[in-house]
């Protein structure tokens, strides 16, 4: 299954949830927010949110800015 994450396509063998994706990327302890196909996925729904083929995932964080 192909998923686009922050502009780069990644391949996954099995179906996975948003929570599993966060874990695979090693971001479980980071302050992040996620949207899939331009819709926010609330943190409370990561466990049950199933990602689909060709989903466009954006994972963001806070950086320095004015």
């Amino acid at each position: 299954m192909n998923i686009q994450i922050n502009g780069n396509t990644q391949q996954f063998d099995d179906a996975l949830t948003a929570a599993q994706l966060v874990l695979k990327l090693g971001l479980q302890d980071r302050r992040i927010a996620m949207e899939v196909n331009q819709e926010i996925v609330p943190r409370s729904r990561y466990e049950t949110y199933l990602l689909r083929e060709n989903d466009k995932v954006e994972i963001i964080h806070a950086v320095g800015g004015g």
């Binding site: 922050n6 990327l25 090693g26 302050r31 609330p42 994972i59 806070a62 950086v63 320095g64 004015g66």
Partner: protein, 268 residues
Amino acid sequence: MPDSIPVTDVDDSLLIAGKSFQSRLLVGTGKYKDMEGTRKAIEASGAEIVTVAIRRTNIGQNPGEPNLLDVIPPNKYTILPNTAHCYTAEDAVRTCRLARELLEGHDLVKLEVLGDEKTLYPDITATLKAAEQLVKDGFKVMVYTSDDPIIAKRLEELGCVAVMPLAAPIGSGLGIQNPYNILTIIEDAKVPVLVDAGVGTASDAALAMELGCDGVLMNTAIAGAQKPVLMASAMKKAVEAGREAFLAGRIPRKRYASASSPIDGTFF
């Protein structure tokens, strides 16, 4: 003798969207060399409201990299996510929604929709559109705008909680280019007016406050200084001094001299 003389007999806190702040200096976190430099400068500035930008997380890179929100923790500072580098209303609204999710429902945002890269001037039509949508979505919008008094009024009428006209182009350090417009915006506003962008040095910040601005937001003037921590301290004092001068009421300007020492009693 009391230890200190109260400067004002009333509480002079800055009220934004129902929350009060003691500091009238708001600072950004961009352009610093490292996180430690950011932390020290922000601490020296005394700012309580601190802006951040929202960007993609680096996937698979620098796993141990310190997180900005660990350096400026949301339980200590009021984080003000911005929509920097957004050139459309849609991108700005999307950025704010992600920021609200990131900050667990925190809904105070700094809206900026830019027109072009040369000037970084606000695209006013897109700014008005984004402001309307964000207010409808329940955001508390502090809005970066031009120094046009009519637009400032329109943004207030749309429900923005603060209007933030530029002093000069972002990062230019030119200081307040149009003090009379800033003054008109202040006179007509029912929400706080903060100068955002264009401040170069302490006297620029003091002038903004002497005009009657409710606060000043800056980033480059501190982060780009040769000694950012020292400049942060200077800006803190300038904003406080400017505020006190505004409250004290300056003397009118006159063309000719007026002696300070008495004329009576001279013996020569």
